[in-house]
Amino acid sequence: MPARWRFALAVAVLAALMTGPFVLTAVLVWADTPAETRAALQLLAGRWLPLGVLTTLAGFAVGIALLARLFRHYVQGLLRMAEGLDVLRRANPGFRVTEEGPHEVVALARAINRLADERDRLLAGLDERVLEARRAVEEERNRLAALMAQLAEAVIVCNAEGRILLYNEAARRLERAFGAAATAAASGWIGLGRSIHALLDPDLVAYVFDTLEALRAQGEAHPQLQVVTATPAGSLVRVRVSPVTGERSQEAITGYVLMLEDVTEQIEREASRNELLFELTEGNRAAIANIRLAAEMLHLPDVDEAMRARFHAVIAREVEAVSERLEAASRAFADALRARWPLEPMRGADLVRAAAAYLQRRLEVALKLEILDEELWFDADHFSLLQALAFLAGRLVEDYGVRTLRLRLSGDERLVYLDLMWSGGSLSNEIVTGWELEPLGLGGTRSPLTLREVLERHGAAMWFDREKARHRAFVRLALPRKRSVRLPPATAPAVPSLEEGRPEFYDFDLFAWSDKATALEDRPLAELSYTVFDTETTGLDPTGGDEIIQIGATRIVNGRLLKHESFEQLIDPRRPLDPASIAVHHITPEMLEGQPTIEEVLPAFHRFAQETVLVAHNAAFDMRFLQLKEDKLGIRFDQPVLDTLLLAAFLLPNQEHSLEALARYFGVRVVGRHTALGDALVTAEIFLKMIPLLADKGVVTLRQAREASQQTYYARLRY
C-alpha cells in the first residue's frame, strides 16, 4: 500500500478514536434521559452543537495539517532517502542524500553521507588496483582494435548463429556496396549483435556454414570457402569464410570469420579483358575462314580473271577488318595497363641492384655498378622501369656491340639520374629518340608499352650524353626526385585515445549468445539488444499534423552502449516549424532544407531498429509519431517498447522523472541535450543504470519490466 493511502487511513482511524468515546457517551446519556428532559437537552443541543462541531472540525484541520507536515518531513523524507540509498549503492556512487527536513532526519542524512564518504575512501584504494589491471586489458583490446582498423580487407566475425561480434572499419565502409545510403550515419547493416543475414542471403549463409561443417566433419582442419554474391545494390562481393573453433580441432564450430571484398570493379575489368581476348580469338575466326577460302580458290587452275579479282577483294577486305580489330584490342590493352598503373616510392639504389641482376640474367654483358647516393628516392612502377633499362641495355649490346656496361645512379636537388655508360662508341640523340617509340620487350616478352609511355608515366626524360674527359658515353634517364619519403597514410581513422574509449567494434561475449534459448519476453533485461531513440518534432500534436524533424538513436547490446553505432538524421517535415519548438531544439528551417523526408528516413530507422527492443523517455509520445506513419510507409514497429519515464516512476516514485532530473540523479553527464541523439544517449545511460535497480526490485525479464511499467501512474496518460 503506498505511503499516501496509509497516511489517509491513519487519519481516519485517529479521528474515529478521538471522537468515538465522546459520541458513545452522548448516545448513552441520550438513551438514559427521560422524555421530558430530552426536550430541554434538545433545546440546549440546538443552541451549542454548531459551536461544538465547528471547534471539533477546526481542531481536526489543525491536527491533520500538523500530521501531514510530519508525514512529509519524516515519512516521505525517509522514503526519498531510501531510494537515494539504492541509487548510491547500485547506480551512482557519487550520489549523496539531500540533507533537508527536521533535524533528526538531517542528522540521519548526514550520517548516511558520512558512511558513503567512508566507503568511497575504502573503494578508492581498491579501485586503483582494479583500474591498473583493467588498463592492461584495455590496452590489449586497443591493440586488437588498432590492428583491425588498419586492415584494408573488410573483416566480420560472427557466432554460429550469424550474429556479428566483431567487424572493422573496412567492413563498415563496405556497407555502401550493400546499398547503405551515403548520408546516413549508421544504416543498420553492420553492427554488433546484428545478423549477417541483413548482408548476405540467409540461404547462402546456411549453405556456406553447412558446407564448412561438413568439411570439418570429413577431417579437414582448416576448411575455407569462397563465394561471390550479388548485393541488393547490384555490387559483387567476394566472401571468404572460415570457421572459428576452440583450441582442439575436434571442438564444435563456435563462429565464422568472413573476409569481404567488393570485386565489382575487378570483375568488370576482367570481363572487359575477356571480351578483348574473345574479340581477338573467336572474333577473328570468321574473317580468317573467309580469307583462307578465298586464298585457296586463287590456287585453283580454272579461275577466270573476274573471279580472281573478286577473291582478291575478299582477302583485302577481310585482312583490313582483322587488322583493325587487332589494333583496337592492342590499344585497349595498353589503356588498361596505363589506367591501373600505380606508382610507389622506391629507392634508386634498390632499383639499380635489381636491374643489374635482371640484366645479367638476360644479356651477355659485364655490368658494373656505381651508386653515388644511397638515399635517392622517386616514384616508380618497378617492373616497367626495369623493362625500360633492359630495353636500352639490349639495344646497346645488340646494335652497338657494347660488352661492358656501367650502371650509375646519381642525383641533385631535384632529379635522380640513371645512366647506362659505356666506353668509346658514340650515338646520336636521333637514334635515342627513335628508341622511345619502339615497344619495350626483351627476348620473347613483348610489352605493348613504348619506352616513351613509361617515361611519360614517370614524368621522366631520356637523352644521350658523353663524358669527354673519361671517354665515356651514356644514355641518361632522369626522374623527379622525391624529397621526403613517408609511408602512405593509412586510410583507416586513427584509433581513439583511451579516454574516449575504443570504438566498440567487437564483443567476444557474443560468441556464447543464443537467441533461440528463450522467448524474448522471458529473457533478462541485461541480455537484450535495445535501440534507444529520441525524436525532435515540429510541435506536440502528432494527430494535428506535427511531424518529426530529427531522429537520433543509439544501441545497447549485451549491456554495452554502442555510441559508435548511432543513428542521427535531420528530416524535412515539409511544413513550417512552431517557433516555440525552435526555442527547445534549436533546429531552424534552413537546417532542414535539402534533408531527406520521413518517407526515406523512417525505413532506414526501421532497419536500424530491427530485432531490438525500443527504449525512449516518454515513449508513448515518440511511438505515436512513428505509428502514424506506419500504414503509409508499409512498415511496422511491432517490437516491444520500454519507457524510461514509466520505469523511473516505478523505481523512484518519490522523485522527479524528467530526463534532466534522472540524469542528475544517476550521475549521467549530459552533452547535447535537446538534440535527438544527445537525448537518446542520455536516456540510454539512464536505462543502463536502471537495470540493476530493477533487478533489486524483482524486475529481471522484459515481461516483468513491461508489467511494472503498466502499474505506474503515468501509464494512463495518452497522447
Binding site: T281, E282, G283, R285, A286, I288, A289, N290, I291, R292, L293, A294, E296, M297, L300, D302, V303, M307, R310, F311, V314, R317, E318
Partner: protein, 127 residues
C-alpha cells in the same frame, strides 16, 4: 543425278568462295543469308545437304537446325554446321541438335569437300 546443296551464311565474303567451290565440284547450289531465308529456301529447293552458319541474324543456325530436324520432309537432308565458335561445348550442342557434322572456321577447302562428299555418298547397302 546432281546433288543439291543449300549454303547459309550472312557474310557475302564466304558465300562467294563457297558458291564457286561447290559449283566447280558439280553440285547444284542455292544461297541464303539468314535463318528465315534458309527455311524458305529449304522448302523451295529441297536440298540434299545444308551448310549452315551458326551465328546469323533472325534465327541462328542452331534454331534452324532444330526446326529442320523436327520436320519429316527433311529427314534425309544432311546438315553441316559452320561456325566461328571453337569450343567443344558448342560442337556438342550442334551435334545434339541433329547436325550431321560440324566444321569450325577457318577450315581448308579440301576438308570441306571431303566431308560433303562423304555425307552425300549413297549409304552402303542402299540401292
Amino acid at each position: 543425278m546432281t546433288k543439291k546443296i543449300l549454303v547459309v551464311d550472312d557474310e557475302e565474303n564466304i558465300l562467294i568462295s563457297l558458291e564457286f567451290l561447290l559449283r566447280r565440284a558439280g553440285y547444284a547450289i542455292a544461297l541464303a543469308r539468314d535463318g528465315d531465308e534458309a527455311l524458305a529456301q529449304a522448302e523451295r529447293f529441297s536440298p540434299d545437304l545444308i551448310l549452315l552458319d551458326v551465328m546469323m541474324p533472325k534465327k541462328d543456325g542452331y534454331e534452324v537446325c532444330h526446326l529442320l530436324r523436327q520436320d519429316p520432309r527433311y529427314e534425309r537432308c544432311k546438315i553441316v554446321l559452320l561456325t566461328a565458335k571453337g569450343r567443344d561445348i558448342d560442337r556438342a550442342k550442334g551435334l545434339a541438335l541433329g547436325a550431321d557434322d560440324y566444321l569450325t572456321k577457318p577450315f581448308a577447302t579440301r576438308e570441306l569437300l571431303e566431308r560433303v562428299e562423304r555425307l552425300l555418298a549413297p549409304a552402303p547397302g542402299a540401292a
